[in-house]
């Protein structure tokens, strides 16, 4: 019981003030290390802007490190003269040695910094900037030194952490208590200050906006952590008053245990919290992707589609449209015709889905109109206007914003319409892999704007294509393209593909690759004629006022169509979830798979809990015997250990959920940039579902409880005498 105290006493006596010096040293050194690590990138920036300040700060670091090194050397000299317990001495020696190494290691980059120019300093942090040209400009020896110092610095940082923790406990308890008191006061002050003055989330994009909310988040998290640490004894104390089993369980967990059990106990709490943190973060990100997808689907697609089998034409739809619009909860409805087609420009061709739409009502149902980035919906109805676009409007609509807002091309309007029908030779050769930007450059040089003349071109029906399709076919607004239907008319030599020429009226960007690549919209009558459907349509798209009510409104529509007059029971009504059943099914499955995979991480944490509790049963076996001798039933013994598992689980889960919340908060508000070329989305989407947090927490606790079952059973099966004979 009193052994650690006694040892600390012995150490204190034999060392004199040395542990104090060392503990402080550990803190200073650790702080210095963290500061240096944190400051390297900043220093790099600073050196570019203000070399003098950077030199000053670097000099300050050098002084700090030199000071800690000096202290370490002094302490090291003293350890030889005193005769402390060899463990404490070992720790102090290790610390001293380490400090010297740290000094040397930190000196290397600093020396380079002082020796070399700002340019050389840019390479200071070997790993981040290793790809930098300046880095390769350095002589080989320096580069090697940088890399070595980087590696050693990382190892040293870890070592420092361990050493700092271990020497920390050589400090007198009074000092440690005082330290925490001051620390907590500072944490409280920091928290209050941050809450009062700093923004909670970045106001704009960019590194400089992240700093302040970042500091606030860090201070808040630190404060929350300290509050939990402080509150824990009180919580445990009040738990003890609840039931007898809980009393014993709480005491077992709080008691000083043998080193290994304490370590594995701490480890199992850590394991539970890390795994729950991971699981919540991953689920939130997956939820974010799902939400993003849902939003995009709902933006491009109707909530409900009324259609019929492909074979039979959907006639008499005017009446149906009217009736659907009359149903409560329906915001808008629009007819459409769809068919698989092939589209080709002079440079390329691609498969697409041709959709005939009613431009008047399509805006009520989908976001198509809002998604248009170039051109206008108006040109679909009046394609003749495409022929003589006013110069400045053409300017504003001509540049194809290909790089997704990543570069602002102020000078781009010079680009010419790609496909001048008069001279098809001007179109670039087949060069799929050639970046578009080069194409722009090419066009910029060869075809100045004022040379373009499109006045005598034909008036062609308009077509709206997606951004990806436009990019593949190298289309700009006003360009022509051919649409080929595989189901053509019957020619003299059998069926012949039917081809029509359209002119690009607008380009849209929905944010969903499938749509941007596949969709081409034309006017309903044009599509009907082209696809030879006569007066029939493919279906009616419906938008509801509330997405969540889509299934029930779909049912209402189905009922109306079936029972109303005239009855149209052959029509099929599907809501968006049914329409995208496969997609969402796959997403749900993926999420489930993720839950299971990461759930296995919790399971492993559960093994840790299992180990802890089994050891606990071993270690506390004698106490179980005593309790049994006093009349504790086997059931109560089981519940004592179940409570212990529960407490470990709930503590770990709460910590994990807290950490997970912080991670999700960071992801959501500080944003992780994604490569839009790959993910088709510019930052990591996050959707937090409180129910998911609850589910993860509950499953972590349940797994911990299950892991406890066997050890608890084991404990209850011990016979009092056997337990009592254990010493």
């Amino acid at each position: 019981m009193a052994r650690p105290e006694a040892r600390a006493d012995a150490v204190r006596q034999s060392f004199g003030p040395l542990p104090l010096v060392h503990g402080l040293l550990a803190l200073v050194c650790l702080g210095g290390f963290i500061a240096i690590a944190a400051a390297w990138p900043a220093l790099w920036q600073l050196a570019l802007a203000d070399a003098g300040l950077a030199y000053g700060i670097a000099g300050g670091f050098l002084g700090l490190v030199a000071l800690t090194g000096l202290l370490a050397l002094l302490a090291h000299r003293r350890t030889r003269r005193v005769q402390p317990g060899y463990r404490g001495r070992g720790r102090l020696m290790a610390r001293s040695l380490h400090s010297v190494v740290a000094l040397l290691v930190t000196l290397v980059p600093l020396a380079i910094f002082f020796h070399g120019s700002t340019k050389a300093f840019e390479t200071g942090f070997a790993f981040s900037y290793a790809h930098d040209e300046a880095y390769y400009a350095l002589p080989m020896v320096l580069r090697t030194a940088l890399i070595i110092s980087g590696v050693v610095a990382v190892v040293a940082l870890l070592l420092d952490l361990i050493l700092a923790i271990s020497t920390w406990f050589l400090l007198p308890e009074r000092f440690r208590k005082g330290f925490w008191l001051v620390f907590d006061a500072l944490a409280l002050a920091g928290f209050v200050w941050a809450t009062a003055t700093l923004p909670i989330r970045p106001e704009e994009e960019g590194l400089e906006f992240v700093l302040e909310p970042g500091i606030r988040l860090a201070l808040t998290s630190l404060f929350a952590l300290r509050v939990t640490v402080r509150a824990l004894p009180f919580v445990m104390h009040s738990l003890e008053r609840v039931t007898f089993e809980l009393t014993i369980a709480a005491r077992h967990l709080r008691s000083k245990k043998s080193g290994f059990l304490a370590a594995i106990g701490g480890l199992s709490i850590l394991a539970v919290s890390v795994s729950t943190c991971m699981l919540t973060a991953v689920l939130s990100v997956m939820g974010g992707f799902r939400d993003d997808l849902k939003q995009k689907i709902l933006g491009n697609q109707a909530h409900i589609v009324v259609d019929q089998d492909e074979e039979r034409p959907f006639e008499g739809w005017d009446d149906v449209l009217g009736r659907v619009r009359g149903i409560d909860g329906v915001e808008g409805a629009t007819p459409f015709v769809r068919g698989e087609v092939m589209v080709s420009s002079t440079s390329n061709r691609a498969g697409a889905v041709l959709r005939g739409i009613d431009p008047e009502s399509v805006g009520d149902v989908t976001d198509l109109v809002d998604n248009i980035t170039n051109g206008r919906m108006d040109y679909l109805i009046h394609p003749d206007r495409l022929l003589n676009l006013p110069a400045e409007e053409r300017r504003s609509i001509l540049p194809l914003d290909i790089e997704l807002g990543s570069d602002d091309e102020g000078d781009a309007p010079e680009i010419e319409v790609i496909d001048d029908p008069a001279e098809p030779a001007a179109a670039p050769e087949e060069a799929d892999d050639e970046p578009i930007r080069d194409l722009d450059e090419f066009l910029r040089e060869d075809a100045p704007l004022d040379q373009t003349e499109v006045a005598d071109a034909d008036v062609l029906p308009g077509i709206v294509v997606g951004k990806e399709l436009a990019r593949t076919l190298r289309l700009f607004v006003g360009d022509e393209l051919d649409v080929v239907s595989p189901l053509g008319e019957l020619g003299p030599a059998g069926p012949m593909p039917k081809a029509r020429r359209f002119r690009v009226a607008a380009i849209f960007y929905s944010g969903m690759y499938e749509y941007d690549m596949k969709m081409a919209y034309v006017l309903l009558p044009n599509a009907q004629r082209f696809l030879s459907t006569g007066g029939a349509i493919s279906g009616i798209e419906v938008k509801t006022r509330e997405v969540d009510r889509a299934p029930e409104i779909a049912q209402a529509i189905a009922d109306e169509l079936e029972t109303g007059t005239p009855g149209r029971p052959e029509l099929r009504v599907q809501d968006w979830q049914e329409l995208n059943k496969n997609l969402f099914g796959a997403l749900a499955l993926e999420k489930l798979a993720m839950f299971v995979t990461l759930g296995i991480a919790i399971l492993i944490a559960g093994f840790c809990v299992f180990g802890t509790l089994t050891l606990m049963v071993q270690e506390k076996g004698r106490e179980v015997g005593i309790l049994q001798a006093m009349g504790t039933r086997a059931r109560a013994v089981v519940s004592i250990f179940l409570w212990e598992g529960f407490l470990i689980g709930i503590y770990g889960a709460l910590m994990g959920l807290g950490m997970g919340y912080v991670v999700v908060f960071i992801l959501e508000h500080f944003g992780v940039k994604l490569n839009p070329e790959v993910y088709y989305i510019d930052r990591l989407p996050v959707h937090t579902d409180p129910m998911e947090f609850v589910a993860v927490g509950v499953s972590a606790v349940v797994i911990c409880l299950v892991a406890t079952l066997f050890p608890a059973y084991l404990a209850s099966r011990m016979r009092p005498v056997d337990a009592l004979r254990q010493l």
């Binding site: 007898f244 005491r251 709080r254 106490e623 009349g631 009092p720």
Partner: protein, 301 residues
């Protein structure tokens, strides 16, 4: 157990003295011939074997014992004779390999483990040879523990525990954990814990083994006093000749068998009378929280 009035106790003691005198010649193996007392704990043909590395160790080889209600029994014998084992069997902490134990006509060997747990909690108070306090709890909580096991309210329980600790002279050590108590203090806490539920039987395995003679004496007085006032039955294993000499009944064991079983009415009488002639050993030493002497002795009164 309800507390009988002191007079009844004295009466019974007197009656018993007479009864024992008449039955003095009767062999101890036939307790049925002593009708004036209720048979409380009866063990018949107790055998206990242990399997030790493949070979059978026979620790108890047929022990018969009858303990009457309100009796004070002392078990003596050389080390390894099986005294602790016998105590464990009688206290239902272990099952005999053969033989039966009945308590107030209930067969303990046939009871389920949860019935036994309730039985132990209610009827039996243990003082173990190695104290066996719960290291995470302080003295007063350790004393309260049997009550907490039963689910009693903390308030009255704490009062009772406080009174008992004062009685064993530990008023100044309430908040100390077992690790911060001397061996003798631990033993006294264990004793207080055994008594807190006012059990019918107290089974004590060398309860004063670690104590100086004065403190031991005070504890022994406490036993006799409780026996007289509450008619608590005591079963005490001891190596102390002094105590054995003053106990009304001494069972001596050797090699797992009962060697002799003598009753000495005069001894009992002397002991029972003692608390009335001497002040009870409740005088706690003056409260000195700073005092750190390893052995805390009760001052002689």
């Amino acid at each position: 157990m309800t507390e009988p009035a002191a007079e009844t106790a004295v009466e019974t003691a007197a009656a018993e003295t007479a009864a024992v005198e008449t039955a003095a010649a009767v062999a101890p193996a036939e307790p049925a011939s002593r009708p004036l007392r209720e048979r409380l704990l009866v063990a018949e043909g107790l055998h206990k074997r242990f399997l030790h590395e493949g070979s059978v160790v026979e620790v108890l080889k047929g022990v018969d014992l009858v303990i009457d209600e309100g009796e004070m029994v002392c078990v003596v014998g050389q080390s390894g004779a099986g005294k602790s084992t016998l105590l464990h069997l009688l206290g239902t902490l272990d099952l005999p390999s053969k033989g039966t134990i009945t308590f107030a006509d209930r067969d303990l060997t046939r009871m389920s483990s949860s019935e036994l747990a309730a039985f132990r909690n209610e009827k039996i108070g243990f003082v173990f040879q190695f104290h066996h306090l719960l290291p995470e709890f302080d003295a007063i909580e350790n004393v309260m523990m049997p009550g907490l096991v039963r689910g009693m309210n903390r308030g009255p329980l704490r009062e009772r525990a406080t009174a008992l600790l004062e009685e064993v002279g530990l008023a100044h050590r309430f908040k100390h954990r077992p690790g911060e108590l001397s061996g003798g203090e631990q033993q006294r806490v264990a004793l207080a814990r055994a008594l807190v539920m006012e059990p019918a039987v107290v089974m004590a395995d060398e309860p004063t083994g670690n104590l100086d003679s004065e403190t031991s004496e005070a504890i022994h007085q406490l036993f006799f006093q409780l026996n007289a006032t509450r008619r608590t039955t005591f079963l005490i294993v001891t190596h102390s000749r002094d105590l054995a000499a003053r106990m009304p009944r001494v069972v001596s064991m050797k090699d797992g068998k009962v060697l002799t079983d003598e009753r000495r009415p005069d001894a009992e009488f002397a002991a029972a009378a003692a608390p009335h002639t001497e002040p009870p050993a409740v005088d706690a030493p003056p409260v000195e929280p700073a005092a750190e002497e390893p052995e805390e002795a009760l001052p002689a009164s």
